[in-house]
Symmetry: C2
Subunit: 222 residues, 2 copies
């Protein structure tokens, strides 16, 4: 999914800004310096961004918009659609990896930016929860919330490792990690009542005959 021209122009400014922040410090860098480095006027800068802080997270706005558009158009299983949206966000960050890595270096040194990042990240979680609520009306609300929290945390964990240079996680790695996140009522541990499914958990080394007997007795007395 290639960003459109306006997005590409904005990302060029973001790139210059983050380079300056990394070199001179975030506080010490002025909007005029960013505009000059990016070859635009101060006025153009303020048409593209509301503030110096906004530049740091501008690509998140574009990411969120693309994720929302993807979900709005998505057909099929809503849980899968969220996972695909998350993987697509990750793929785009992979393409703009240098930018994401530079931001990481800047953000970790400025507490107000760190806080803004936490708030920004939370917007993905809320987007996914809102989407699932609309599409899965019968599902337990708590299950949706647990799912989106774990899914978003998984994405952020692999992204953080990537921008720190600690791993080369691919979108396929993310997809595999996301597949372990439980969806709704389908995977409650044994003992928790559910209308539709029963989940049994037992040690692998229990003899199969014993498992079958125990389970049958348990089911017959439920």
């Amino acid at each position: 999914m290639a960003p459109d021209d306006a997005t590409a122009r904005r990302l060029t400014v973001v790139d210059h800004a983050l380079r300056l922040f990394a070199e001179k410090g975030y506080e010490a860098t002025t909007v005029d310096e960013i505009a000059e480095a990016a070859g635009i006027s101060r006025r153009t800068f303020f048409r593209q961004f509301r503030s110096k802080e906004d530049v740091v997270f501008a690509d998140h706005e574009s990411q969120l918009a693309q994720a929302r558009a993807y979900l709005d158009a998505a057909q099929g299983d809503p849980w899968d659609a969220v996972l695909e949206a998350v993987v697509a966000v990750f793929e785009r960050f992979t393409q703009w990896r240098e930018l994401a890595a530079r931001r990481y270096q800047v953000v970790r040194q400025v507490p107000t930016l760190r806080e803004r990042e936490i708030v920004t990240v939370f917007r993905y979680e809320r987007l996914f929860t809102d989407y699932l609520r609309t599409r899965l009306r019968g599902e337990s609300d708590l299950a949706l919330v647990q799912f989106t929290a774990a899914v978003t945390a998984t994405h952020n964990y692999l992204l953080r490792r990537m921008v720190r240079g600690e791993s080369d996680a691919s979108p396929a790695d993310l997809r595999a990690a996301l597949a372990t996140v439980p969806r709704g009522d389908a995977e409650r541990p044994a003992g928790v009542p559910s209308d539709q499914l029963v989940v049994a958990v037992f040690p692998r080394d229990m003899p199969s005959r014993q498992v079958a007997d125990l389970l049958q007795r348990r089911l017959d007395t439920l």
Copy 2:
């Protein structure tokens, strides 16, 4: 766990402040008005809180400190310790329910407070992740992150329902909801290999004999 005297005195100020914020609006309420309502001097106010904004979240500081102290002293299974710490936080919020409900009304109307709340909530998640990292050195880091994200989201979901007056969730309800959150590698869905446990999922209305047979055949060919 009863808050100590200093905490109790601070919470009295918080209570007055939130009442004033709810009545007059957050922006329109001054520190002098809060101090007067709480029967303290402006100077005492600023010994207890750094700013007007800090008052809104003062009990979170006390909660975080108590959760940290609990975990530092905890023996036994670290996953369980995190769940117990979360339930203890919830129990304290239950005791100060009016305060939490009043804060909810104020925070939802002021975007900067809403953002500050998101950041505050994230500190619990980080506290739990850091604790698990220290105690479970062999565990997959991603598993810890998924666990604390889902656990924190579960707590916040039930707390939000409580302060909105939508449910009367008890600490026991929270404990039951938390028990469904998977821990590390131990509870992967069926089909994913694990050294120790087998998880089987089947429809509730499948006859128990059929479940037992299917399961035994499946286990015997694993």
